[in-house]
């Protein structure tokens, strides 16, 4: 099928990060700094992306501030006419750095918080003092007159303080709060049992968010990402494969979604070898699950197939071993009952220790708890942004 016009580009500038969140979106096998693409290549990627119709770029990582050339990168994105969003842990973001980024044309900053209180937050990030540094950086962002989004990734170990996290966002003067339940890919899949909330925790969280939305309407926009394992319909992952979004990895690979590297058998083109347009329009990985023609039953004959596009390919692969299967988050998937049971079982057992995100030797992926329909091959693990799920949407 012909390629639609993309809306957003997720630029993963580096996999370096001073934090070690156990739910990190990055692949378990992290890209080495030596393989990162340079400033000029990023500038070309931004120009080509704008030419394709991309409107927004999300500068992410790892920690994008770990790139010394970040101001040049922001300037290049702004020069290409893109709306620039920095997705950061903010622990290294000081006043001088922020000033150079503002001058370079930065439009918006999103800072992740691991918890509402320092001890828990620093434990999850595995970095003493991280929470205090984030608070200071968030204040600098609003002081500089930039819009701030607070990103709260929630799971069984911090969900009981969701109300306090909402208060934190308000106190910091954020315009937007993203409450994102962990999505289980990459490091999060490896840590699933330590993160999976109970159904009761989830329901309370949903109520808390709905109430806060009502109370703070017009002051704080709250986006809410629900967890798949307790859902009955899947998310329209990335707004549909190869429809709205593309991801460029630190090493220059172009992916339809941040977790796609985990799907065995997909080959990703390299921005150093082909134009972004060629990759977007004809690249194998993009064409594979674009549209609806690839769908098997029950999606093929389903009335919702152009609403949710069959859900997430990466999750289908991780949980069933078949990337073309219906996302098990859908109640029509044969694997659906099993994942609900898995979530309930994991959430009711004592949480295991975190396996923190770090550069590890070799490519061995951690074995997740046995998946329902078929055990996920170890090599299937990869990342989706726990930092920020870039849910682009177009409201009519």
């Amino acid at each position: 099928m012909t390629a639609p016009i993309p809306m957003g580009l997720l630029a993963e500038l580096t996999h370096r990060c001073p934090l070690q969140c156990p739910y990190c979106s990055n692949p378990v096998e992290l890209a080495r700094p030596a393989g990162e693409i340079d400033t000029a290549t990023w500038a070309r990627v931004f120009r080509e992306a704008a030419g394709l119709g991309v409107l927004q770029v999300h500068l992410s990582g790892g920690e994008p501030c770990a790139r010394r050339d970040l101001p040049e990168i922001v300037a290049a994105a702004a020069a290409a006419g893109l709306y620039t969003n920095l997705i950061t842990s903010a622990v290294t973001l000081d006043e001088a750095r922020l000033a150079t980024l503002v001058e370079a044309g930065l439009d918006h900053v999103q800072i992740s918080f691991q918890d509402a209180e320092p001890a828990g937050a620093d434990r999850i990030a595995h970095m003493p003092g991280a929470h205090a540094k984030k608070l200071a950086a968030a204040r600098l962002v609003t002081k500089a007159g930039l819009a701030l989004t607070v990103n709260a990734v929630v799971h069984r170990q911090n969900l009981d303080r969701l109300g306090a996290m909402i208060d934190l966002a308000l106190e910091l003067g954020a315009q937007r709060l993203e409450v994102a339940h962990v999505q289980y890919y990459g490091w999060a899949l490896a840590n699933r049992a330590a993160l999976m909330p109970t159904r009761a925790q989830l329901d309370r969280a949903t109520e808390t968010v709905e109430e806060a939305r009502r109370i703070h309407a017009g002051r704080l926009v709250i986006d809410y990402v629900v967890p798949d394992y307790y859902a009955t319909r899947p998310k329209a992952c990335m707004g549909g494969w190869g429809r709205q979004f593309l991801v460029v990895s630190p090493a220059g690979k172009v992916l339809p979604c941040h977790a796609a590297a985990g799907i065995a058998g997909l080959v990703f083109d390299d921005v150093r070898e082909k134009s972004l347009r060629e990759i977007w329009e004809n690249g194998d990985a993009f064409q594979r699950f674009r549209g609806t023609a690839w769908m098997p039953e029950p999606c093929r004959g389903c009335a919702h197939k152009e609403e949710d596009w069959g859900g997430c390919r990466c999750q289908a692969f991780a949980l069933t071993g078949d990337a073309a299967a219906t996302d098990p988050a859908c109640r029509l998937s044969p694997a659906h009952a099993a994942i609900g049971g898995l979530a309930t079982a994991e959430a009711s057992a004592a949480p295991p220790e975190f396996r923190y995100r770090r550069f590890e030797r070799g490519a061995e992926a951690p074995a997740p708890a046995p998946a329902p329909a078929a055990a996920a091959p170890a090599s299937s693990l990869s990342g989706i942004p726990a930092v920020s799920a870039p849910h682009e949407r177009v409201d009519p």
């Binding site: 016009i5 809306m7 030419g51 394709l52 119709g53 409107l55 927004q56 006419g81 709306y83 969003n85 439009d107 918006h108 999103q110 007159g145 930039l146 819009a147 989004t149 315009q175 937007r176 993203e178 109370i215 703070h216 309407a217 017009g218 002051r219 704080l220 926009v221 986006d223 920020s388 870039p390 849910h391 682009e392 949407r393 177009v394 409201d395 009519p396």
Partner: protein
């Protein structure tokens, strides 16, 4: 402060700094950009947004629109207020 912001004819609606209205060549359409959000305003909404200069009060804005579209002022007032309230709820307009 809680609840939706009040809006009356003395309000001066404006686009917050992080919201950008831009013509997009690839789509041949105007787009309104905010963090993680893209809106495609229709022609009239677009015209309203272009007039948000941070100085014009809502009352004057309605007068101008009623004149330019040769439409009854009440009707314009209702539609424009609703549009702005909706966009303010999405964080895309400041009141």
């Amino acid at each position: 402060m809680t609840g939706p912001q009040p809006i009356d004819e003395a309000t001066t609606p404006r686009l917050p700094r992080h919201v950008k209205l831009r013509f997009d060549e690839a789509r041949g359409a105007w787009v309104l950009l905010a963090p993680e959000r893209v809106l495609m305003p229709d022609e009239i909404a677009c015209d309203v947004l272009k007039r948000l200069d941070g100085k014009t009060q809502l009352g004057a804005l309605i007068d101008a629109l009623a004149r330019d579209y040769e439409a009854p002022r009440d009707l314009v007032a209702g539609d424009v207020t609703e549009l702005l309230r909706d966009l303010a709820g999405k964080g895309m307009v400041s009141l």
